[in-house]
């Protein structure tokens, strides 16, 4: 029994992988994202430290030594961008993870049990959806900026948590919808008849069938988390200086548009490339999982 299962699972994964890599742009996007991740991970091998100031050497145009030039304090922009990538990618990945986790829990409970639990959870979800998220992020960010409390010192962690807290509603709705459809299926009735507990049915039977749509919505979440984090840092309410982030680099560049307009180019283009790559990966995943999606939608 177990052996059969593993073989089946492998072939499914292999099938999805094969379909995914048929999508040329998605394959390219994977490569681009891999390069970005590696560059950020190994950022400490760059020639300059992102914090090292050199005021006599400021506002250099991009050249052979300073590939992206230097900023108003003479810091090397290339190295700052790579270190900024660490923050953006970390925030993107982990806030997506937590938001999906929370969303799956809420959506699964809501969709599987229905009734008053569903109504209560969906009212809360609606309330969160009506929230103009960025406003709340800014309020929370404003606390962050002035507090010296222990937990708030690590502003990356706090930004991850607040982005996740304000973005779980989309996966929750998606998962709820999938559960509403799947819980009426014969294989669920079969498991109920065999005495399967709710937890078992949710975890073993229904959830594995939701993986595709969850992954696709995860890519959308990650792209928007990266845009949100950078935007928040750009407004001055995200990850706090001196930690370089794409958003805060862009924000300092804004004050220098007359002296050094090129400074505004790099952080933005990095956000843009990352988001494009993630979007194309999402597109590839959607295509790879497509037969399944059509399958559920029809019934």
């Amino acid at each position: 029994m177990n052996e059969l299962q593993t073989i089946r699972e492998q072939s499914m994964t292999a099938l999805i992988t094969r379909r995914f890599f048929k999508h040329k742009l998605a394959s390219l996007a994977i490569a681009v994202l891999a390069i970005l991740v590696l560059a950020s991970v190994f950022a400490n091998f760059t020639r300059f430290s992102p914090m090292q100031q050199n005021p006599t050497n400021n506002f250099q145009q991009p050249n052979a030594t300073h590939w992206f030039g230097t900023d108003e304090l003479g810091r090397d922009v290339f190295s700052r961008i790579l270190y900024g990538g660490r923050v953006s990618l970390t925030v993107g990945l982990f806030s997506t993870f937590f938001s999906i986790l929370l969303g799956v829990i809420v959506g699964a409970l809501s969709g599987y049990f229905g009734g008053w639990l569903d109504s209560a959870l969906m009212r809360v979800t609606d309330a969160f959806l009506t929230f103009p998220t960025i406003f709340v992020l800014i309020i929370l960010g404003a606390f962050l900026r002035e507090q010296q409390l222990f937990i708030l010192q690590n502003s990356v962690f706090v930004v991850i948590i607040i982005i996740a807290t304000l973005s779980w509603m989309w996966p929750a709705r998606l998962v709820r919808g999938l559960f509403l459809v799947l819980r009426e299926k014969e294989f669920v009735s079969a498991s109920v008849a065999l005495g399967g507990s709710s937890a078992r049915i949710i975890m073993k039977h229904i959830l594995p069938n939701c993986i595709g749509p969850i992954l696709v919505s995860g890519t959308l979440q990650m792209a928007s988390a990266i845009i949100t984090e950078s935007g928040l840092s750009y407004l001055g309410f995200g990850v706090q200086p001196p930690t370089p982030t794409w958003g805060s680099i862009l924000s300092t560049a804004q004050n220098q548009v007359f002296r050094a307009p090129w400074l505004a180019f790099y952080p933005g283009v990095m956000i843009f490339i990352t988001v494009m790559a993630i979007n194309y990966i999402g597109d590839g995943l959607r295509d790879a999982f497509d037969p399944y999606v059509i399958h559920t939608e029809k019934q």
Binding site: R123, V124, D126, A127, L129, T130, F131, P132, T133, I134, F135, V136, I138, I139, L140, G141, A142, F143, E146, Q147, L149, L152, A223, I227, S230, G231, Y234, L235, G236, F237, L250, A253, Q254, V257, F258, P261, A264, P267, G268, I271, F272, V275, M276, N279, Y280
Partner: protein
């Protein structure tokens, strides 16, 4: 229809209630307070700070403070700005029209551009035009609004100049040139860059959505029926297909409203547009709680009202839906 509208309005009450509690708790229970800056100021004594706290009621238990704030809210009183010593409702009332001008103009531009693009690219799917549009919309969706805004400033304000006067091509900052307040043409000129920054992403998103919606509809049985009846392809496309394909857009727009206001916040900040977003940003920097709470509450109400309108519009547009 009227009962439905009434019921929808009543349904929003618990939602607004939840929002108000969450917001209030978040702002008040968080560490620090509106007097953080005053505490750091050596010229203000401890006794003075305590007196201010007592006067503002910051020492009362949280439920009491919430009750007082909610009571005021229900009477249209949003409290007084700590920084400007002015009623928050007045400050917001001054800014709302400006935000609505910006959001409304962007919305109009978005629809005027996105709908034709979506229709044309679905007309001949996988044609050169369609591929070009798909690529461009993918790009447009990935450009963050703040970077686009900054880029527009660099291109049209810093770099490009009017060759005759050597002045920047488009103005940046505010709604009017000094001395031209109330001049509509001048305001429109000031609107060009902010509206471009705000609309581009939405144009990309809606034209993509409309394209796939059109393609879905074109596979429906009633399209085949319409063709079988011998209707011209044009009539089938623009009458039967378009009417059905455009419906989901109404729901989508209602869902996207919070994001539209969020985008407006960035654009207002970048272009110094005197709207609610800008007010909010300034208040956040000064931790002016009553203003923060007021703006978020008003924005939430605006969004909910638009949602109800969208639902009602949906019922009006789609005869299949009957409200009881």
């Amino acid at each position: 229809m009227q009962t439905y509208a009434l019921r929808r309005v009543l349904q929003t009450i618990p939602i607004l209630f939840i929002i108000s509690i969450l917001l209030f708790l978040m702002v008040r229970a968080a560490p620090g307070g509106p007097l953080t800056a005053a505490r750091r100021n050596p010229n203000i004594s401890k006794e003075q700070i305590e007196a201010i706290e007592e006067k503002l009621g910051l020492n009362d238990p949280l439920p009491v403070q919430y009750g007082r704030w909610l009571g005021g809210l229900l009477q249209g009183d949003l409290g007084e700005s700590i920084k400007f010593r002015r009623p928050v409702s007045d400050m917001i009332a001054e800014r709302i029209p400006n935000t609505l001008i910006l959001v409304g103009a962007s919305f109009l531009v978005t629809l005027l551009v996105a709908v034709p693009i979506g229709i044309w690219s679905a007309r001949k799917p996988y044609s050169f035009f369609d591929y070009a549009v798909t690529t461009i919309t993918f790009i447009g969706q990935a450009i963050p609004v703040y970077w686009l805004g900054l880029g527009l400033i660099i291109i049209f304000y810093v770099t490009l100049k009017n060759p005759i006067t050597d002045l920047p091509l488009f103005p940046v900052g505010g709604m009017n040139t000094r001395g031209k307040e109330g001049d509509i043409l001048d305001t429109l000129w000031h609107l060009v860059l902010p509206v471009t920054a705000l609309s581009l992403g939405w144009i990309a998103w809606y034209s993509r959505f409309l394209r796939s919606s059109m393609l879905d509809v074109m596979h429906q049985d009633y399209i085949r029926t319409a063709r079988a009846k011998g209707l011209t392809e044009r009539w089938v496309y623009y009458k039967h297909a378009l009417q059905n394909a455009i419906l989901p857009l109404v729901t989508l727009i209602a869902l996207d409203l919070p994001s539209l206001f969020a985008g407006a916040l960035f654009v207002e900040t970048i272009f110094s547009w005197p709207g609610m977003g800008r007010l909010f940003w300034d208040a956040a920097k000064g931790r002016d709680y009553p203003v923060l709470l007021g703006v978020v509450m008003i924005t939430a109400v605006l969004i909910i009202v638009c949602n109800i309108l969208a639902d009602l519009a949906y019922g009006w547009l789609d005869p299949q839906i009957k409200y009881e």
